[in-house]
Symmetry: C2
Subunit: 338 residues, 2 copies
């Protein structure tokens, strides 16, 4: 691979809107960024007929054929092992074989997580690779780590999550000295479950991160921390509840606006302003979630991702490569083991 | 005690707005409901000077003196043991000694939970008493059980939570055949952590509840279930995140409304309608959270509770007594053990 160019293998067949939105987002990405190449992996004829709709530099997009598709409902391990010619497996193998730096998919979460670990493999010393999406806060974003990769995690896993998350936030998102906090059910020292109580002193002893202690779920949207550390079950509940409450509150706002003639007229006046502020609070505005700690970057985007999110997910791979995130993670882990 | 009258011992000194709002809410409750008596427990002079502001039937409110106050920051077990003359301990003893049917407090959560268990005591057969607030959904409410009483719960505890929650929703809130669901990180059978996987088949075997399976956090605000079963850490995260996201989204809406002259004019027009629909989505609209499974009713309201929430919390004690919830719980547990 060319050192200067980031090569992203994209699962063209994964997600609710594949291949149309995936291809569209890929075209937008290469049109926006230099030093980027996208390999679209999947059924060639389907990809080509989408690509024909757009103008782009033909050198920056390549198609690699894969005849099978892993569906959302399939048991992940079985799917990865059996469907060797699926877009997901073929694309992950491009990363494994150093033909691509990164992999982006809107396909089955389970298959992406399992495939990433089995095919791309963990960095030596990393116990569990966490899935770490950016979530919106009052005035910015926070990294939620882990949000679904490893249930029943141990304290040592959470410590690695905190370290990797801190590196990612500082170097990819650009937050200096990010505040790292552990999700807890109260601010007092004695609060928490067994896992939190075991993890808390370990995090306090980490000199390489800016650990600020407990964070209650109430304070996550307020933006009190930049890296939100938790085990996967809790992280998944946080991520999904963000989406659920956001959706219901928006529908409540709409219901309110349509409830009288007076409010309908008001609604016309406020619509542009409201749309802008509420947009910043949607979980799909921030590209995909990286699965950290693998020998290559694996990014999972929402199953419902449209072109813009696909583009954002591809573009974030450039910083990941340019900032040498995996080198930083390796150095960090080595330091830890000394 | 008179069988026909519900007697509620109220911690007049607990919470951010004590005693003023606690006394005010108590007066509102007795003025609204017949067959209700409130015993205000705390510093007599402080309570009296608040009571003097209102008109009410003097037979329906009594003051019981308690000279001490348990503060929010105090370690609960120590506080309960040492402050024998605190409003919280004195009021709980009224329930223990059958001088009151129920106890309501806006004071320290920890002290209410510990005090309830130590002083009022568990119903024989109940392993852990869960704290179960009502949370808003798109078109109604759901019972979140457990939301903070017992971290690191076992599967057998969750089964009792499901049963008690179902009884409460059916008989106090009035939802026929309530749908009971277990919080999980995916709808598929194989998903979940060790606790969920162990609990799932046990709940499926419960013939006395309408168990509908897994619920993802995303679907909780949508109102897909009436009783949301989870262990306390997860429940606390759900409750707190509801509050946090709600607050931040409202501030985002306000920010949007004030961002231009056009939107400011629109805001004046929509304000009444919007206020009404969003109010239904606030966690403090639904009175207090019962601590279920004790020999008497213990209700915890928000520390920031104002008169209206205090009133709602007191009023819900009437249904709890009239519907014989504890008898139903006892029968249920006995049935289970046969």
């Amino acid at each position: 691979m060319n050192e200067k160019i980031t090569v992203v293998a994209v699962d063209a067949m994964g997600g609710d809107n594949a291949p149309a939105e995936i291809v569209k987002g890929s075209v937008q990405a290469v049109n926006e960024k230099d030093n980027l190449k996208v390999i679209l992996v999947g059924i060639k004829s389907a990809i080509s007929s989408e690509l024909e709709k757009y103008e782009y530099d033909k050198d920056k997009i390549e198609i690699v054929e894969a005849s099978e598709i892993i569906e959302t409902g399939e048991p992940p391990v079985k799917a990865i092992r059996r469907k060797k010619d699926s877009s997901l497996v073929v694309a992950l193998n491009l990363v494994k074989n150093n033909q691509a730096d990164a992999f982006v998919s809107a396909g089955s979460s389970g298959a992406v997580l399992v495939g990433g670990q089995l095919l791309v493999g963990r960095i030596k010393g990393i116990e569990r690779p966490p899935l770490a999406p950016l979530i919106p806060t009052k005035d910015g974003v926070a990294l939620l780590i882990d949000c679904g990769a490893n249930v029943d995690a141990r304290a040592s896993h959470l410590v690695q999550f905190a370290r990797m998350g801190s590196i990612y936030m500082e170097n990819v998102v650009g937050i200096k000295n990010p505040r790292v906090a552990l999700v807890n059910i109260g601010a007092e020292e004695e609060k928490g479950n067994a896992l939190v109580k075991e993890t808390m002193p370990l995090l306090k002893n980490c000199n390489d991160i800016n650990f600020i202690g407990s964070i209650e779920a109430r304070d996550i949207p307020e933006g009190y921390a930049d890296v939100i550390v938790c085990e996967a079950f809790v992280g998944n509940v946080i991520l999904k509840l963000y989406e659920g409450i956001g959706n219901v509150m928006l529908s409540k706002v709409k219901e309110g606006l349509l409830s009288s003639l007076r409010s309908k007229i008001g609604a016309l006046l406020i619509k542009p302003a409201l749309k802008k502020t509420l947009k910043a609070f949607k979980t799909d505005e921030y590209g995909g979630a990286p699965l950290l700690g693998l020998n290559g970057l694996v990014v999972k985007t929402h199953g419902s991702a449209k072109a813009k999110e696909v583009k954002n997910s591809i573009v974030q791979c450039i910083s990941f490569k340019n900032e040498n995130i995996n080198e930083l993670i390796k150095q960090n882990i080595l330091l830890e083991e000394k």
